[in-house]
Symmetry: C2
Subunit: 332 residues, 2 copies
């Protein structure tokens, strides 16, 4: 694959790895990111590479989006609000704006520019609570969070545009993606546990009852899977679960983090309840037969992926002040 | 059931029948409608009844919506753009605005006003093209039209709000609803055929190959089914197909219309192709076991429903100029 690729959210954890992989394949890459959760530090090395262009802008701003779409052959639309948690008092239109409206804008800009190839980062959160496990792609989705609901709305619009305007689309329903970059205060279970144990190594508050058990996938594997599927899946509309078929409990992750930090005798305190927050899906495993049949499988299961992510996070981690200093230093 | 009910789209074909049925049950009814497709003629008789209030306004206008939500116990959210057809050159954001954004506004206004009961008119168009027929509610949806895609997005948001804010919701996936009021130029197959045959009784242009075959439901039965389900279905999130399990071909409808108009020897001219327009689902039947098990069944099958709708349309029909005069006369 070569050509000119637009990566929305390309300064994010997964998007910046994807942008680098596309550059390595000889593609020209434009990253469009509003840096609301993406970071300069993720793309500072890419800025020096030939064929790379960064546009700071928001997908709700159509003029900027149209500028970024110019001459593009394919879009990887990864921009989204990465914080899936909803807390009482949060605005209820955040996901509507950042998922549904942004994705519509991307689709409409593509249509107007004659860009017909789209890969989209969806989520296993679209499924909601399913009796049948592991969950295959043809299972009816019943999202219980605003994040999952609006991602499903995006998938549906992509399907309609694909049909009406003869596009080729790849929808990827991610498991929980983990890795050294995916470490933001309170946003992921690994980062949350590391932060809390740094503050107080004697005890750890765990959201829910700790028996939540989910599928995990390393960010670098997630990127590899997307590229493989776009290379090998047929034209039309393709939908793939991306993950591994097993799951890992939150309490087990707590134990792994504590062990990796060399801490013993940590007291676990549970906030209680099946889910960690309103809209949390407490347990799921993904049926990944479809992507396996295409020829791609995750090398690491959930426990291995989480172990690698913990190790990488501890090696690369700095305190938040340090991260902020680093981010400021990278800013042009 | 009594209490104060808000019917969005209550000046529409189905909404006005529903508003009347609710008044007959002793409810106080507020209709909110922007009259973009709803009509004064549908509600003029209701205006004189005690307990009825009409607010002309758009669901995109939050202040008007909040005014209408005041003191309400339940919402029937039927407002939508009823024209499911997409033609090249049409704006692609019509359904996004009129389905997705309006439904979000309804949900958010309900949340802020503590209104926790919602019935929603969804559509069989969310399913798209399904191999397994008839289509049950637990089949994975793959809409191929912007109308179906945005309705699925609405369903997903309703599910998330239901879960996050402890609501009771009834989602109804309508078959093709027909009846004397549902007769607008080019919008329904029956009205389209009557109009064309009035202009030229010797021949009839039929969109597609005429073998499109869909499920039909009389508007008055649709209203009865919604009321029954809200009375009898359990709390939480309920989703029902509303229709009958059979289907009827477009060519058969053409023959029925011609026969009802007393026309012989009509020459049928097909525009060709499986679907009638981009995004049309050429064939579907609905599995209505769920609503049947609850205790409600359509009295009329698709052919009987269409026959009654043709008859009623021919009896009540006026030419469009006449309808416009009638509408103007009803306007206060």
């Amino acid at each position: 694959m070569s050509g000119h690729i637009l990566v929305t959210g390309g300064a994010g954890c997964i998007g910046s790895d994807l942008a680098e992989a596309l550059l390595n394949r000889g593609c020209q890459v434009t990253v469009l990111d509003n840096l609301s959760s993406g970071k300069w530090v993720h793309i500072v090395d890419l800025m020096r590479r030939p064929g790379f262009q960064f546009i700071e802008g928001d997908l709700l701003d159509l003029a900027t989006l149209d500028e970024a779409m110019h001459g593009v052959e394919m879009v990887y639309h990864l921009a989204a609000n990465p914080d899936v948690k909803f807390a009482p008092g949060d605005p209820t239109d955040k996901d509507l704006r950042q998922n549904t409206l942004c994705t519509y804008n991307v689709l409409e800009s593509m249509r107007r520019h004659g860009v017909r190839r789209l890969a989209f980062s969806s989520t296993s959160a679209i499924y909601g609570i399913c009796e049948r496990q592991p969950i295959a792609e043809d299972q009816a989705p019943h999202p219980i969070s605003l994040y999952g609901a609006t991602k499903l709305g995006c998938e549906a619009m992509i399907g309609a545009f694909q049909n009406l305007f003869d596009m080729d689309c790849w929808i990827f329903r991610f498991a929980n993606v983990v890795g050294p970059k995916v470490r933001k205060r309170g946003r992921t279970v690994i980062g949350d546990f590391i932060d809390k144990l740094r503050r107080d190594p004697s005890r750890l508050q765990i959201l829910g009852d700790g028996r939540q058990a989910k599928s995990y996938l390393l960010a670098e594997e997630c990127v590899a899977a997307m590229l493989f599927a776009v290379d090998h899946a047929p034209r039309g509309l393709n939908t793939f679960n991306l993950g591994c078929p097993d799951s890992l409990s939150v309490t087990r992750i707590a134990e792994m983090v504590a062990a990796a930090m060399g801490l013993g005798g940590v007291q676990y305190e549970y906030t209680g309840g099946e889910g960690g927050w309103p809209g949390d899906v407490p347990r799921f495993r993904l049926d990944v037969t479809a992507i396996n049949r295409l020829g791609w499988s995750a090398r690491y299961n959930s426990e291995e992926a989480v172990a690698l992510a913990i190790e990488a996070s501890l090696i690369s981690s700095r305190d938040h002040q340090g991260a902020d200093i680093l981010e400021a230093a990278c800013r042009p």
